[in-house]
Amino acid sequence: MTDQTAQSDERIKSVPLMTRLMTRPELGAIAGVILVTIFFLFTADSAMFTLAGVMNFMAPAAQLGILAIGAALLMIGGEFDLSLGSMVAFAGLIFGACLTVFGLPLILAIPVTLIFAGMMGSVNGQIVIRTGLPSFIVTLAFLFILRGLSLVGLKWATGGSTQMRGIREAVENDFLAPFFSGEAFPALFTKLADWGMIATFKNGTPKVQGVPVEILWFVALTVAATWILLRTPFGNWIFAVGGDSNAASNSGVPVRRVKMSLFILTACCAALLAIIQVLDAGSTDARRGFQKEFEAIIAAVIGGCLLTGGYGSAIGAFFGSIIFGMVLIGLTYTGIDQDWYLVFLGGMLLLAVLFNNMIRKRVTGER
C-alpha cells in the first residue's frame, strides 16, 4: 500500500504554468498595473508616460510605498499597524524639533528620530504581544495617541503653532541632506540632456533633473524586504509567525522577537518617510501622514497580503503602491474628476480581497 504511494501518484496532474503563476501573491498587483497602464494609455494625455510624467506619479507612489513595504511585512507576520500615519506626523515632529529646537545636525537628528519611532513601535508591539489583544485595536488607540501627541508637541515646540518651519535653513549645507531630499544623479541627467537623450527646456536644462530620492529608497526597501522574506531564515519566521504563531513557537521560532522586530521596522519606515517629507517640504505639521495607514494597508492587500497573515509579498506591495500613484496623478492627465480617486481606491481594495481569497484557496488546495 505504501509502496504504491511511493511511486508517482497517477491522480496528480502536472501543473500548467498559468496555474503556477496564479499562486504567486504578487500576480494581482502586476495585473493591476498593466490594466491601469492600458486605461491611461487610452484616456490620459500622452505627457503622462514621458519621463517627467513617470517621475511625477512615481514620487507619490514611492512615498506611499515606503510605508506599504513595512505594512506588508507586518501583515505577513500576522499583525496590523494602524498608527502608521500618525507615526509619520509624530516622527516629523521629533525630527523637526531635533533640527530647529535643539539645532542638531542630520547625522544625529536622523538616528534620534528613528530611535524614537522605533520605541513607539516597540510599545505597540509589547502591548500586542503581552496582552494578546488584537493589534488592530491596540494600534487604533495609538493612531489617536500619536496624532494628539504630535499636535501638543508641535504647539510646545513652536510656541502655539501646529506648523513647524525653518527646517530647510537648518539643514542647509548638511552633507547628509542629499540622501534624503531632492533628486539623485543630477549630473547624469544633465549629461543625458546634453546628448539629447531626454527632454529639455528651451534653455537646455533637462525637464527631469534627477531621480527623486524617495524612489531610490522605495526600490531599495523593496529589494531588501524581498531578500529578507524569500532568502533568509528570518523571512521564513515571518511567514511562520503570521501563518500560525502557535505552530511556529512549537517549532522553535522566536515568535515574540519576530513580531517585535516587525513593529519596530514598520515604525522606522514611517520615520524614514517623515524625514524625507519634512526635508522636502522644509516644514512639518500635525496633519502629515493623515490616513496614510489605510492607504498603506490597501497597497499591501492589493499586493497580495492576506488580512489573516502568513501570505504576501513585498514586490506585490511595490506594485500596489505604483497603482496608487498612477491613479492619483494619472487622473489629472485626463478629463475625469479627480475625486473618482476615492471610488477607485475602494473598488480596487474590494477586488483585491476577492482575488486574494481565491488565490489562497488555490494555494492550500481548498475546494
Binding site: 500500500m1 505504501t2 509502496d3 504511494t5 511511493a6 511511486q7 508517482s8 501518484d9 496528480i12 501543473v15 499562486t23 531578500w227 524569500l230 532568502r231 533568509t232 531564515p233 523571512g235 521564513n236 519566521w237 511567514f239 511562520a240 501563518g243 500560525d244 502557535n246 505552530a247 511556529a248 512549537n250 517549532s251 522553535g252 521560532v253 492576506l306 502568513g310 501570505y311 489562497r360 494555494v363 492550500t364 488546495g365 481548498e366
Partner: protein
C-alpha cells in the same frame, strides 16, 4: 533487554487541587513502539506534555540515557532528543513543505551579508526524507495545505526524525484519518521504529495500537494499570482496562461486540 532511552518514574502532576497524574511509570526503549492507551481525560495529554517539557512534574523523576533530567522547556526536551508530534502538527498550511520542514532550523549558506536561506538544499532534503517515508512529493515548493492529513502527519514525523529524535512522541496521529491514511501512518511508525528510534504512540484506538505496538500501557484516571508485552494481552483486555471494566462489558454486549 536494552536499556530504556527515557524512563519516567512515579510521575505525579497536580494542577491546583486536581491530581492529573497520580504516579505514572513509563519507559521507552530504542527501536520499540510503546503504545500509551487511555480514554479521554485519562491524563494522556498531561503525561506526554510532561515528557516533552511543556509541564514540569510535581513529583517523580525522569531519566534520559541513564541520567536524571529536568526539562524547563520543550526546547530542552528537543535537545535531549525527545521530539513530539502534536495533533495540530505545528505545520503552516500556506507555507511550502520544505519551508515547514525546516521551520525554525533553516539551512543557510554564504557568509556575512550574503548569508542566506539555502532553498535548494532545503528542497532536496525534504524530497529525499519524504521519499524515505514512502511519499513522492510533486515538488518541495507545494504548500502543506495541499497535502492530505496522513501526508502532513508523515511530514511532521519525517521532520522529527531528520532532526535527530531518539524518542518520538506521537499524539493521536491516527485519530482524524481515514482507513488508508491510517495504514500509511502506521507503516511510517514501523519504518521509524526500524531505524532504532523509540516511538511513543498515544491513541485510544486499540486496533491501531495492536497493529504496531510492542508494549502497551493503559492510563486510567491518572494512574497506570500496568504495562503488557505484545502477545500477552488481548484487544478486549486493553479495551476493558481503558474504559475501567464493568460498564464497558455491558455496553459491548448491547452493541454486539463492535466497539
Amino acid at each position: 533487554m536494552t536499556q530504556p532511552i527515557v524512563e519516567m518514574k512515579e510521575i505525579q502532576k497536580h494542577f491546583g487541587n486536581v491530581i492529573a497524574l497520580a504516579g505514572v511509570s513509563f519507559d521507552v526503549r530504542p527501536g520499540e513502539c510503546h503504545c500509551l492507551l487511555g480514554d479521554n481525560g485519562a491524563g494522556k495529554s498531561t503525561f506526554i506534555k510532561t515528557m516533552s517539557g511543556v509541564h514540569q512534574p510535581t513529583k517523580g523523576t525522569m531519566v534520559v540515557d541513564g541520567e536524571d533530567v529536568t526539562f524547563a522547556s520543550p526546547r530542552d526536551a528537543m535537545n535531549a532528543g525527545i521530539a513530539t508530534v502534536y495533533q495540530d502538527l505545528a505545520m503552516i498550511p500556506l507555507m511550502s513543505v520544505a519551508r515547514n520542514f525546516f521551520m525554525g532550523r533553516e539551512p543557510v549558506k554564504g557568509k556575512g551579508l550574503f548569508k542566506r536561506y539555502d532553498a535548494e538544499q532545503a528542497g532536496r532534503v525534504t524530497m529525499e526524507e519524504m521519499r524515505k517515508m514512502g511519499i513522492n512529493l510533486r515538488e518541495a515548493d507545494q504548500a502543506v495545505g495541499t497535502l492530505s492529513g496522513g501526508e502532513r502527519q508523515t511530514v511532521a514525523i519525517a521532520r522529527a526524525v531528520y532532526f535527530g529524535a531518539k524518542v518520538l512522541i506521537l499524539d493521536e496521529p491516527t485519530s482524524a484519518l481515514g482507513v488508508r491514511q491510517t495504514a500509511n501512518v502506521l507503516a511510517t511508525i514501523d519504518r521509524v521504529r526500524k531505524q532504532g528510534i523509540g516511538v511513543v504512540f498515544i491513541t485510544h484506538n486499540v486496533r491501531h495500537a495492536m497493529a504496531v505496538g510492542d508494549r502497551f500501557t493503559v492510563l486510567n484516571r491518572g494512574q497506570t494499570l500496568g504495562t503488557a508485552e505484545r502477545g500477552h494481552v488481548s484487544p478486549e483486555e486493553l479495551q476493558d482496562m481503558m474504559a475501567g471494566g464493568q460498564e464497558m462489558a455491558q455496553l459491548e454486549g448491547s452493541l454486539g461486540g463492535t466497539v
